[in-house]
């Protein structure tokens, strides 16, 4: 069975917010209705976004790291927001695992947002309907778009390829390989929601080698080959000779 999802590489995310604006741009222009903006150029602006990029500082000065952290619906395998919905407006698609809201059925009670530990559902202030990341369901299956454009708007916008998109149930997909080989992890695993979106951690390339391993103590280059061997003496042996019994 297919489970479409995003894999977000925290190692390369630079926090440029391109995915945020690209997401807003696509989804506010979509057939499902606009995403409200209130006082966008005034004090206390507010609005609906499916995707937010947050910033965290890890460690204590001077040993700090800035981690930019994109956050959108994780399309959980066991989404707690779905069973609580009283109208059935919140649902998870069987065919590709995308968690969606049927806006026409939503009564705007907000209960699904209470039931989401990640805070990725936003009740649109104007439409009074619960909205959330659709994984650009209207892009990825669109016949009107060229095949290479049938990806979520956030993925297309990312300049550092920090966002990967694919089927996490297909072990050979780009996302599955990334999760497997680059330490992909889920957020808040303690609640058993089994998020489909996963995150790749910050990585540093460190070689575990000590100083004395860098210098070869018995390097043949250091042997005093100029000094003549005593008559009858064996040729000087090196560590290589000890290690190589075939010779």
């Amino acid at each position: 069975m297919t489970q479409l999802a995003l894999v977000i590489d925290l190692n390369v995310c630079v926090g440029c917010q391109a995915c945020v604006t690209s997401c807003k741009s696509w989804n506010t222009s979509g057939s499902a209705g606009s995403l409200a903006d209130f006082r966008p150029y005034d004090e206390d602006p507010a609005g609906t976004f499916f995707n937010r990029v947050q910033t965290f500082e890890v460690g204590e000065f001077p040993n700090t790291e800035t981690v930019h952290f994109p956050k959108s619906c994780l399309h959980c395998e066991d989404p707690p927001c779905v069973p609580v919905c009283p109208t059935g407006a919140s649902y998870k698609r069987k065919e590709d695992g995308i968690v969606l809201v049927d806006y026409d059925k939503c009564i705007g009670c907000g209960y699904c947002a209470w039931a989401c530990p990640y805070g990725v559902r936003e009740l649109d202030e104007k439409r009074q309907e619960m909205t959330k990341c659709t994984l650009c369901v209207d892009r990825i299956y669109s016949d009107a778009l060229a095949p290479e454009d049938r990806r979520p708007a956030c993925v297309m916008a990312c300049p550092t390829s920090a966002r990967l998109f694919g089927d996490v149930h297909d072990p050979d997909s780009e996302v599955s390989i990334a999760i497997r080989e680059r330490g992909g992890y889920a957020l808040m695993p303690e609640w058993g929601t089994v998020p489909s979106n996963q995150y790749l951690p910050r990585r540093k390339t460190v070689i575990n080698i000590s100083e004395d391993q860098l210098v070869r103590a018995d390097s043949p280059q250091k042997l005093d080959t100029a000094a003549p061997l005593k008559p009858g003496a064996k040729p000087r042996s090196t560590l290589d000779d000890a290690a190589n019994f075939s010779g």
């Binding site: 976004f49 947050q54 500082e57 009283p86 009564i107 009670c109 947002a113 530990p117 805070g119 951690p201």
Partner: protein, 313 residues
């Protein structure tokens, strides 16, 4: 969590209405067992049922203000298999219908009042469980995820309902007043016990989610520098009460005084000398206290999503 007044009024109003109905039915059971004489149908049961329906009806209307699309509220009955909110959406009108039929049966002097009342009692208890479970079933709202939540909703509803019944009986059925006051005192004392138990439980709660589990970064010191936007959003409005800790603490003492201490005092005074005005005052004070109690119930719970919204920029 942000305490929404529509939900606060919904839960407190239907609680009082449910408790009042249970008090009416208790009188009929007591009469059937020859403990007391049956109060008059038209002078006691019918106005009592109307009062109970007024409270539950007002609660139902208040709940509509919680919805973004109240005109679609009928859809909320669809998912009763999985959603406690949907179950409440069915249980509340069913209970009101049963109470209405109970009143009608008394009005028309049918014989089936005890049977209809029994059905309404079952629906009443189901409604208490549904209302409590809406909150108790969200496992990561740890302050709510406890059987105490359901117990408190039921016991506090009965307490305010029986206080209301005492005031009501002071006008309609003198012989029942003392029994109702005694029951109201008992439920209020029980409620004080169960609510304090939940206060005690929540004061020592250990939250399972941390900034570490929320971000997957295993470092003891993580500080949010930006939540991704400069203004507000649904996530900052709906999940924060926006008041100081001192304000929260003061509400706790206010509700302990208004919902429990003062009504107990007023009810105790009325035991010796029944006064309709004092009993009305006891209900009003206790109801105001329960509004504060419900406000505190919401404000005290910490949603794990708040971990992601700690700094504007």
């Amino acid at each position: 969590m942000h305490p929404g007044f529509s939900v606060i009024f919904l839960t407190t109003l239907i609680g009082a209405g449910q408790g009042l109905f249970l008090a009416l039915y208790a009188a009929e059971i007591a009469a059937a067992l020859n403990v007391v004489a049956l109060p008059p149908a038209r002078g006691f049961f019918v106005p009592g049922v109307l009062l109970s329906l007024a409270f539950t009806g007002a609660g139902a209307v208040a709940s509509l203000f919680h919805l973004g699309h109240p005109e679609r509220a009928w859809r909320a009955m669809a998912m009763w298999r999985t959603s406690w909110l949907s179950r409440e959406g069915i249980a509340l009108p069913s209970f009101m219908l049963a109470v209405f039929l109970y009143g009608l049966a008394h009005w028309l002097e049918w014989r089936a009042t005890l049977a209809i009342g029994a059905v309404a009692v079952v629906l009443c208890l189901i409604l208490f469980v549904c209302t409590g479970m809406i909150y108790a079933c969200i496992k990561f709202l740890q302050e709510w995820a406890s059987p105490l939540t359901v117990i408190n909703y039921a016991v506090l509803g009965c307490a305010s309902g029986f206080t209301l019944a005492s005031a009501f009986a002071a006008f309609t059925a003198d012989r029942l007043v003392v029994a109702y006051i005694t029951a109201a005192i008992a439920f209020t004392l029980l409620g004080l016990g169960t609510r304090c138990a939940s206060l005690l439980r929540n004061s020592r709660i250990k939250h399972k989610s941390t900034l570490q589990s929320a971000t997957g970064i295993h470092h003891p010191r993580i500080v949010q520098k930006s939540q991704g936007f400069m203004g507000g959003s649904y996530n900052t409005r709906e999940f924060f009460h926006g008041r100081s800790k001192a304000f929260l603490r003061s509400i706790k003492w206010i509700f302990l005084a208004l919902a429990f201490a003062l009504p107990l005092l007023l009810l105790g005074v009325s035991l010796n000398h029944v006064s309709a005005i004092v009993l009305c005052l006891a209900f009003v004070v206790q109801y105001a206290g329960l509004i504060a109690e419900r406000w505190f119930f919401f404000a005290q719970s910490n949603h794990p999503q708040n971990l992601y919204y700690q700094a504007i920029s």
